[in-house]
Structure formats: C-alpha cells, structure tokens
C-alpha cells in the first residue's frame, strides 16, 4: 500500500507551513518572528559586546561602526542590550501568553460545552478577574510575592486568561448547536471527544490571532512594569529598562529611545502579521480573509 493513502483516515494536518509561506503577510510575520527568536536564542554569540559591561568614557555615543546602535548613559552597547533584551521579552511574553492561552482554551471549552451551573460559575470567575484594574492588580501581586520574572508571568497569566476563555466560550456556545455537533452526539460521541476533536479545532483560529496580537501587549506591559521597577530589575537588559533609561536621557541622546522603540515596533508587527497569516492558513475553508 502506498504511503500516500495510508493516512487518509488520520485527523488532518497538511502543509500549514507551506501555505503560510505563500501568504505575503504571513511570510513577513514569520520572518520577523523567526528573526526575533533567533536573536533571543543566539544572544550570547551574536551580541558584539557584554550587555552589562560599563564603559563610562563612551557614554551617549550615537550609532557608529564600533557601536551600531550607539551606547547608553553608562556606555553599554545598545545593540547588545537589545539582542539580550529579546531573550527576556520573548521568554516572558511567550511563556505567559502560552500558559494563559492554554488555560483560557480549556476553561472556555468547558464553560461553553459543560453544564449550565459550571458555565455560570466560570463566567463569574472570568468577569471578576477582568474587572480588576490590571496595573493595581499587578502592584498588589508584586507587593505580596516580590518583583521578579515568575511574579510577572503569574500576573500576566491571571490578567489575560479571562479574555481567551471568554472568546473560546462564546465560540463554543455558538458551535455547540451546530449540526455536526448534534450529529456527533447522535452517534454517541462523549463530551471529551466532542470538545477536543470537534470543538477545539474549530474555535482555536481566532484565539491564535489574539495570542499573536497579545504578545506585543505583554512585551509592553513588561516594559511598563520594568519602568516602575516592578518587573525585570536593572541592569538586566529588558527593552522596558532600555526605554525607561533612554527616556531619562532624552535630551542628551535622543537616539536611545528611538532605537529601543524599533524592536518593539517590529515585534508587534511580526506577531500581528503572523497571527493574521496563521488564521488564514488554519481555516481550511479559506473563508473570511478579513478578521475584525
């Protein structure tokens, strides 16, 4: 038997990567995201300088051949700090959004397809979580647990999972009356099979794009908290720290803020494009190229 027909009864997964490469926006997003990931992973080898080595004599230098992105108020190489910063930014945002997404997905599916009382209980949880003002909630948690990367991830997970859960719940609710779900129930399929095999693949699409668009938001949140000295502690080269320090010396060296803004903009664009591209590719019907 040829291998081409061997997999005809397997659940589907075909050429997502190839389809993504054919979509110009998806390709652009993929290139940017891969570049940032590579930057984060290869930081020790591609960064030209030590990101925390001081060289006060060479402070506030504009971009030059020796320092492509110039130096900051302590003479640290900005390019090296940005490259190392990618590690922190992506590490924190991908971890926290990933956890929040997985949590939201499962809770949303359970709320949407499960019994009514469970739905009401979970919706109450989602609503009370999202009614908390984010920054104050973050401050409270950080005060109790102390600043640091783990606390930051915890805060982001707690703050962002309700929006995923609610998105998934709404979609699940609208699909649970669909003919194919009824047909599966009529065939005797149990709730676990229906949730994971039939509902999940049909509800994740919009969440993928939401996740990709949320990663830059989380990068910004991390930057904001780091600015308030509640996130990553200096001298660790987080993009937020670089931006905050650059802001302090805006008059002497305006290039710092501008250059530190570039990776934020590119990361935002990259993840957003990738999200859009993935959504188009993940939907086998190819319907609705515009998502609003």
């Amino acid at each position: 038997m040829s291998s081409a027909v061997d997999d005809i009864t397997l659940p589907a997964r075909r050429g997502i990567g190839r389809a993504l490469l054919r979509d110009p926006m998806g390709l652009a997003g993929l290139v940017l995201v891969v570049a940032f990931l590579a930057m984060a992973l290869l930081a020790p080898w591609i960064a030209p300088y030590d990101p925390i080595a001081l060289n006060v004599k060479a402070k506030f230098q504009p971009p030059s051949a020796a320092h492509w992105a110039g130096t900051d108020h302590l003479g640290r190489d900005l390019l090296s700090r940005i490259i190392w910063g990618a590690r922190l930014a992506l590490g924190i945002s991908i971890t926290s959004v990933g956890i929040a997404g997985a949590l939201g997905l499962v809770l949303g599916l359970v709320a949407g397809y499960g019994p009514r009382w469970l739905d009401s209980a979970l919706v109450l949880v989602f609503d009370s979580m999202s009614s908390l003002p984010m920054i104050f909630f973050a401050l409270a948690v950080i005060t109790v647990l102390g600043p640091g990367t783990t606390t930051l991830i915890l805060v982001i997970v707690l703050v962002s999972f309700p929006s995923y859960a609610r998105l998934i719940r709404t979609q699940t609710l609208s699909l649970s009356g669909a003919d194919y779900i009824l047909a599966e129930r009529a065939m005797g399929a149990g709730p676990v099979r229906i949730i994971f095999r039939h509902l999940l693949p049909n509800v994740v699409g919009p969440m993928v794009i939401l996740i990709c668009m949320d990663i830059p938001v989380v990068i910004m949140l991390e930057a904001g908290l780091s600015y308030l000295n509640l996130g990553v502690k200096p001298p660790s080269p987080s993009w937020g720290n670089i931006l905050a320090e650059g802001y302090n010396s805006l008059r002497q060296a305006p290039h710092i803020v501008v250059i530190a803004g570039i990776p934020l903009v590119l990361a935002t664009l990259g993840f957003t494009f990738l999200g859009e591209g993935l959504r188009d590719v993940l939907d086998p019907r190819g319907a609705g190229r515009r998502w609003t």
Binding site: V5, I8, T9, E184, G188, G190, P284
Partner: protein, 328 residues
Amino acid sequence: MTPVLDLQNLSVDLPLGGFLSRARLTILQDVNLTVARGESVALVGESGSGKTTLARAVMGLQGMSGGEIRLDGQPVAGKAGLARLRRDATMMFQDATASLSPRLTVGYLVTEPFRIHRQPLPDPDRMARDLLATVGLPAAIARRYPHELSGGQARRVGVARALALRPRLVIADEPTAGLDVSVQAEVLNLMADLRRDMGLAYLIITHNLALVRHVADRVAVLYLGRVVEEGPTAEVFAAPAHPYTASLIAAEPKPDPRRRRADLAIKGEVPSVLRRPSGCEFHTRCGLVQDICRQNAPDLHPTTTGRLARCHFADQNQEQGDHHALEH
C-alpha cells in the same frame, strides 16, 4: 415480530421562559409509532409540526417529558441504553454538509463511529474505502474535507457514516433536501438498495409527499405534535381519512391545474402551539368543519379499514376519497 423501533406515548415539552414559571409548551404529545424490521415509515407534516423534534428525541438529543422508546422490544434507559440506541440507530441530518465536522477528512469521519463505540478497526483506510464504495464514492474522496464535497457527495458520505456500524434503523431527516432532482433519485435508489441488502428500517422525516409515495410503506401525519393519521402509504394517499392529510395532498403541485381541489385547499397558517385551538385542533383550518369539531377533541381511532385517524368524520372522508379515487 417485535418492531425495531417502538415509540409509546412519546411527549416532549419545553419550559416556557420566565423564572419560576411552570408553564410548559407541548411540542409532541403522546406519539405512538412503530417501525418494523426492514420497514420504511414516513413522518410528514408542515414545518413546526414536531417532525424534527421527534427524531431528536429518539436519538436522545432532546429530553422527553413522557413516554418510552423501545428498541427491539427493550426500553431504552440509562447511559448503556442510549449507547446501544446510538449504535443500532443512526440519524442522517437535513443539512448533510453541515453535519460533517469541518476540520476532519472524510476518511476519518466515516470511520469515526468505530472509534466512538470502540469497535475493532484493524485497518481504518480499508474500512473507509469499503464504506465509501458501498455508497458509490471513489476512495480518493477520503482525503477531502467536507467543504470540498458537492451536496450529493456529502449526502452519500452521511449515508456511509450512518451505515458504518451496520445499524438496524436509520432516521433520515429530509434525505433529499437541497439536492437537485437527478441526485435526489440517486440518493433514494441508494437508500432503497441498502435497505434491501442490509435489511435496514427507515424512519423518513419529510414534507416531500412525492418522496413518501416513492419510498414509504407506511406514513404517519403529524399536526401540532400529534399524529392525526397513520396507515399504509398507498391507502392513505388514495383515500385520506383526515382532512389535514387530504389538504396536504391537495397542496402538492400538480402538473394538471384542473385537478386541483379548491375545496380541500388548506386555509391560513399553522396555529401557534402557544394557543392550541379548542376541540379538534385542526378545526380552524378545516374545510369540513362542523359544530362538534369546535367542542370535542377527537381521539386517534381506527377507521373501518383499520387505519388510524384523529377526526370525527374519518370514515366518511375515507369513503369520499375512495369515490374520488375511482373517478380518476
């Protein structure tokens, strides 16, 4: 012989909104219906008469407020009973494409019943090919997605899936809806062949009377959630005992406009189940209405020829129908 499916006093009602309100809306009331082994029974009625609700109630998709479902003589009860019912009886939905899970391949979908009921499936690909061959589809279809199928193909995939575990009974909700005439004929012939080859029983839900004439041994007519007439298809069509049945038949488009019966034309809309008419529930639309119809509700009773009808004048209607049949 015990019938495959035996519905006894099946009733469905729904809570009528309102917190603490105990009002309930009757959708189906005391429906009795049997489907014998290898028999094909049609359930007809206008939209809103409860046809689809009945199918869903049988498959356990809709809670019942009363009555009993027996499968091969055994009452369906509890989880095990429902699992047995869902293995031995399958349902084909009205919209064939929409009833296939959109992100799975046809090959997976047709073999899914085995996975659900944990039946041995040593070679899924072979099984998929065999099932598709049974309904006259090429094996290559197995790698397609539901949205890549035509209406007729999706319908055939639905049939293949319904037959995967060799059920005893297939409930088909509008099996020809949305198909063009030549494909309708193909699907009906396929269903007839499978019935002959596998001894399947069908419960066909439709408002297409031509389809009923073509495939059904017996027909039950539903009006506002109650059976108003039941009997062998040929007899019912030749001499309807209930004026509603007569109106439905008269409402069918006829090639010859002179043969239309204006006196039987149905009047007005289906009354709302929220405000059921008093007496005979059909009296508001009946062309033959008498005083007794407004006061007394007729029972479903046997007529002189042994059919069942819910009309005070069933026997007269039947005789008149016979006269008409003789005239033509």
